[in-house]
Amino acid sequence: YLHVALLFWQQVILCHCTLDDLRVDGRSCEDYRYVEVETDVVSNTSGSARVKLGHTDILVGIKAEIGRPKLDRPNKGCLEFFVDCSANATPEFEGRGGEELGTEIANALYRVYDNERSVDLKSLCITPMEHCWILYTDVLLLQCDGNLFDAISLAIKAALLTPSKIPKVQMMEDEEGTTEIELSDDPFDCVRLNTENVPCIVTLCKIGQRHVVDATLQEKACSVASLLVSVTSKGTITCVRKIGGGSLDPESIYEMIETGKRVGKALHAPLQDILNKEESLGKSREKVGFIG
């Protein structure tokens, strides 16, 4: 997507760097750049989060709406994904320029999240066959500096984890037998999603003979191919996908999955920690948002 024409020798230096486990910014191959996470950044949503990873800047808003369960899973709710690669990130995304990338990311997100193993979809069902919660998960890309998938997954998990404002509902039946949905009036009376198994995505970029996590745009430009691994807090792998062009040999895929599993598992605890910290601060938390 982002056109980064790289000088060939810059690539050489980058590849040499990964050999010695010293990347251009001083990180080792398994290091992330530091990540900033903030939740509840926009109202009008049931949950929202902003994640900054290097210059990559992601805003996720989740809206819960009542809809009809899908035919193939009548007793479950579902998640819908939309990724807006906005012109804010780069003029190339203007108009329909970001659609292709947006669709690619959204498709991957469906694979990773919209299933029973990752999210407790049953709890989103209100009445089988008739009503369920649909969580519209909208991702807004504000700046790209590589590693979009990992940043987006952190933001989604954070947005799901925060006390989602999905109100409790009751089904009322009147004399004529038609049902009506009644939302709970109490704003604090809401469903909190079980997010124990919500995975995080780790993207591994193969550069030269090695692979790195959290590749910057420059590193991505000289990588052969990338592998996306989604890992739960217990270290279970829920999804593996090769992304982008290029090909990988089986040997390095195994190695990359191993790394992904190790790194991905370790992402969950710190995320949970800071979200707990954020929640414990409650109202006293100084909102940073874009004002800073």
Binding site: G61, S86, P91, R96, I291
Partner: protein
Amino acid sequence: MAGIELLSDQGYRVDGRKPNELRKIQARMGVFSQADGSAYIEQGNTKALAVVYGPHEIRGSRSKSQHDRAIINCQYSMATFSTGERKRRPHGDRKSSEMTLHLKQTFEAAILTQLYPRSQIDIYVQILQADGGNYSACVNAATLAVVDAGIPLRDYVCACSAGFVEDTPLVDLSHLEESAGGTQLSLAVLPKAEHLALIEMDSRLHQDHLESMMDAATQACKDLYAVLDRVVRDHLQEVTTSIGE
């Protein structure tokens, strides 16, 4: 007007403001590092982002290129989660194309485009949270972003909306006031010269009231100008201090 009383007997609006009072404004310049200029603004609960790329070589077909000035290219979009009811797409609908055109015209009036022949300036605005006055918030954010990008402007562009309830003009309408369905006026003003870069009014209004409504909206734009100017000067002070020398 059914249901809600937009102006109480004591002369206060639903959110406790006086008729000519703006909502609380917070803004910041330079929120993104990759763009040439950027800004963020909150007007009450309306939140908007603006970024500027350029001036740069014309992208795509060179036939758009103007030999004597820069072309201004805009896009208005709204995050799908920005509204009460989810939007299906962030841009490309009729409403946002209209806003895009407005924005382009507004800034063509303000930017000294003749200084940059054959080049292009991109202004992209994004509503993150919509609570009335979306267009105004975008114009104001875009002004700050253009200033941040160091692009020469004749003057600031300040935009504000106004409504008319019970013979009183209300300025800077919230979503609640907008959706009540009264007359609405949108103004974009170059405040120093008091030139209007945009004026738009929908639904009808007695001609006698037009002047008072225009006056109120213009005054609101000037109040807004004072706020934006403060933001620019604080930023200026902060950065020059930091650069030193």
